[in-house]
Amino acid sequence: MAYSDKIRNIYTSTIDEIREKGIFKQERYIHSSQAADIEVEFPTGSALKKVINMCANNYLGLSSHPDVIKAAHEGLDTRGYGMSSVRFICGTQDIHKELERKVTEFLGTEDTILFPSCMDANAGVFEAILTKDDVMISDRLVHASIIDGIRLAPAMHDTFKHSDMAHLEEKLQLHADKRLKVVITDGVFSMDGDTAKLDEMVALCEKYDAMLFVDESHSSGFIGKTGRGTHEKYGVMGKIDIITTTFGKALGGASGGCVSGRKELVEMCRQKARPYLFSNTIAPVVVSGVNTVLDILSKSTERRDKLEKNTEFWRKGLTEAGFVLKDGDTPIVPVMLFNAKLSQDFSKALYEEGIYAIGFFFPVVPQGQARIRTQISAGHEIHHLEKALEAFIKVGKKFDILGKTKQEIIAKYGQ
Amino acid sequence: MAFDREMKKFYTDQLEQIREGNLYKQERKILSAQYADIDVEHPKGVRSEGIINICSNNYLGMSNHPEVIIAARDILTTRGYGMSSVRFICGTQDIHVELENKMSLYLGMDDTILYSSAFDANLGVFEALLDEDCAIFTDALNHASIIDGTRLCKAKKIRYANNDMDDLQLKLEEERDYRIKLIVTDGVFSMDGTVAKVDKICELAKMYKALVMVDDSHATGFMGKTGRGTHELMNVMGEVDIISTTFGKALGGASGGCISGRQEIIDILRQRSRPYLFSNSISPVVVGGVLKVMEMIMHSSERKEKLDRNTQFWKNGLQEAGFILTSTQSPIVPVMLFNAKLSQDFSKTLYEEGVYAIGFFYPVVPKGKARIRTQISAAHEKHHLEKALDAFIKTGKKYGILGKSREEIIEMYPISDKL
C-alpha cells in the first residue's frame, strides 16, 4: 500500500472536477419496495417523503407484484437462496433450465443461455462467437455494455449513424470481404425511446449476408402485440440471430440476463463466454420469480395493454400541455428541456411536488439535449398519472416553458 | 439475419473441435437446494439423491442456512423482489447502503460500492481509476474477471509470475515511471488453494509507491482469525487499498459483489465505473440474505472454525490415505492426479460412489497438473466427510494410486492431455 497524498490528491481533484461540471451522481435512498408509490430519503438524512416514481424500468409493474413475490417465496423454500457455484460446476438447477426454455419460447428463438446480468451477456457474447477475421457494425447509440463487449472482442469494429439505413448499407458494402459480419443494435433506445427499424435491418442483413444482434432490454415483455419485443412489432420474429435481454427491467427487475438465438451461437457462449464460465449462477430465488413472470406474460397481454394505454394517456397529456417530447410510442417518454441546469432544477421542483423523475444531460445524452426522462409503468394507475401530469404542468409553468418551441426554450435558458 | 448454412457449419465445426479437445462443458442439473448433499439429474433422465457435494463455493454453509432464508423471506415482503433500476436513478434502497456500510466495517475499509457480481466489480474498477499513464502489475494466475477488467483499461499491463515476489520486485524496479502503479492479486488462488503473499506485496508496494488490490472472493468470511480475509490472515489490515469480493460464494452464494477501499477511490467508482452505472441494482431479496450472513459472521466465528476443523480433517484423511495434495492453505483442497483422463475417470467413479467433485485439466490448470478440486464447507458434517473419504479411498484403490509418488502415478498414467 502506498496510498500517498499524491494519489489521494489525484482522485480528490477528479471528483471535484465532476462536481464542478455539475454531473456528480447522487443516490436517493428508497425505503419501500419498487412501485408506483415509493418512500424516499432525499437529500440523505431528511425525513421520508412519499412520491410517485416516474423513472423506473418497472414497465410492467411486476417488480413487487404479489404473484411474483409469492413465487420467489416458494423458490426460496424449495430451491434455496444461493448456489455458490458457476453454472457448469454445480450451479445449474432444473429451474435454470426451465427458465432458459421459457425464454426461448417467449422470444421465438432456438435456444437461450442465462447470464448474471444483461451487462454480462453483452460483455461476453461477441468474444465467444467472433474472431479477428470478422467485423461488428454497431449503431452509434447502443448501450454501454455492448460497447464493452465490442471492446473485449477480437473482431474489427465499425459504426453506423443512429438508425441510418443508408449508412449501414455503405458499411456492409465496405466490409463485404469479412468472413462474418454482425450488425448490432438496441431494439428500443433507452435515452430517446425510439425503436430500431428491424424490418429494414433484417432485409439488409439478408442482402449482405450478415447476422443481426438486437439488445431487447427495454422491449422484452411489452413491445409488440403480445409483448415479445421489437422483433414482434416489426414482424421479424425468428429472423434475429442473437437477442440479448435483461430480467432486471420489465421482467421482474431483480437481476439476470440472457443471450437467446441460434442454437449454435448459444452453444458457443456456453463453451466460451467468460462471464458465463467465471461468474456465479443466478440465484434460485430470482429464477423462480422470472419463471412466474414469463408464465404471467404468456397467459395474458393485460399488463402490456395497460402499459400501452397509460403511455398514450401520458404522451397525450404532456403534448397537450405544451411540452416538447421526443417522437415515439414506447413507454420511455423524454421531456425535452435542452439545458442541463434546467433539467436538474426541473427535477428538483418535481420532487417538491411529489414526483420522482431524473434529469439527464451530457455526457449521458448529447450536448444541448438535456431532458427529464419519464418511464411509464403498468403499475401506474390513472390517478398517479393525473397527479404527475398536474405536477409537470405546474413546474412547466413555473419555468415558463409550456407551449414554447425548442428554439424558444433555448433562447430563454441557453443550451 | 443471414444465418445461412455456411455460418451454421462454421459454428458446428468449432463446437466439434471443442468436443474433440475434450473441453466441452456439460452441466449437471441439480434438483434440490445447494447443501452438503444434493439431488442431481446426471446423466439426463437419471436421478440420484443424497449426492455429497464437495465442489461448491458454499464455504460457510450459508447458501441455504435457515436464518438466511428467513431473512430473505422477510425482505421479499417488506422491500420487494426487484428494483428495475440502476443504483443512481431509483435503484438504491436503505438496505443497499446498510450492506455497503457493513462490508466496510467488516473488511476494515473506508467505504464500499456494490456491483451485480464480483466479475462486474473487477470489470469496472481498473478503467475508472487508471489511465494510459498508469501501470497494473498483475499476478499470472489472477481470475478471468481481473484479466478482462485490465483489458478494458488503457494502463500498461505487467504480468509477474504466480506469487513470485522476486519477479514482482524486478518488474517494479524496471517499470518505475507511471503516475499511479497498482499491484493486483487474488487473495486465494482458486485452482491451488494457495494464499497470495499479501504481506510481502504490501511491503513492496510501500517501497515502490504502488497501490494494492486484492480479490478476496475465495477468502472473505473465512480466511484469517475472524474470517475477514487474506489481509487479516497476513496481518496487513488497513494496508490494502482496494478489496474486491463476492457474495456469490461464502457469503450466501446468491449473487453480487463489491469493491471496498479508500474513500476517494469508492467515490470515483460511483461516478465512473461502468458496470455500476449501467447495470441493474442488486435485488432486495439478495441484499436481505447477505445482510443476515454478515450479521451472523460478525457476531460469531463459529462457522469459520467449523470450516477449519472440517478442512483439517479432510486434508489429514486424504494425506493419510496416501493422496498427493497441493500445498493448499485454504478449504480448497486439490487432489493431484496429473493425467487429464484419470481426473475425468476419477470424477466419474466418485459420482457412482455418491460424491460430486469435478476434474480439472488443461487449459484450466497447466499441462500435466490435472486434479480433482475439492472444496470443504461448514455445511459438511463429519458423516459427509467420512463418506466422501471412503469413496475417495475406494476410488483411489481402484486406480491403484494410493501411497504412490507423483512419478509413480505418472508412470502408470503417462501425462497426456488427451482424455
Binding site: M156, H157, D158, T159, K171, L174, H175, P366 | -
Partner: protein
C-alpha cells in the same frame, strides 16, 4: 494530392461530424481533438485501404499518423508508391 485531401475531408465530415455547423480544415486535429475516436480510426483506415487499393500495416496506423487530413494523405501517399 489536393483531390485526395478533399476526398478524405469529405469522408471525415460525413462520417464523424454530428453537428453540421462544425468547421473542419485539413489541419484540424482529428484524434487528439476528439473528433475521431480510436475505435472509429479502424473504419477510416479501411475506407482508405479500399478506396486507394493499399494496405496500411497496423504499426503504421498510429493515432499520430491519423491526426489530421494532411497527415493521413501523407501516410496514404507513402503506400501508394
Amino acid at each position: 494530392m489536393d483531390e485526395m485531401k478533399d476526398v478524405v475531408l469529405k469522408y471525415v465530415i460525413n462520417e464523424y461530424l454530428e453537428d453540421e455547423d462544425e468547421v473542419l480544415t485539413y489541419e484540424t486535429p482529428l484524434i487528439s481533438g476528439g473528433i475521431v475516436d480510436s475505435f472509429s480510426m479502424v473504419s477510416l483506415k479501411r475506407f482508405l485501404e479500399n478506396k486507394y487499393k493499399i494496405s496500411i500495416p497496423d504499426d503504421k496506423a498510429t493515432p499520430e499518423a491519423f491526426d489530421s487530413v494532411t497527415k493521413i494523405v501523407k501516410l496514404v501517399n507513402e503506400f501508394l508508391k
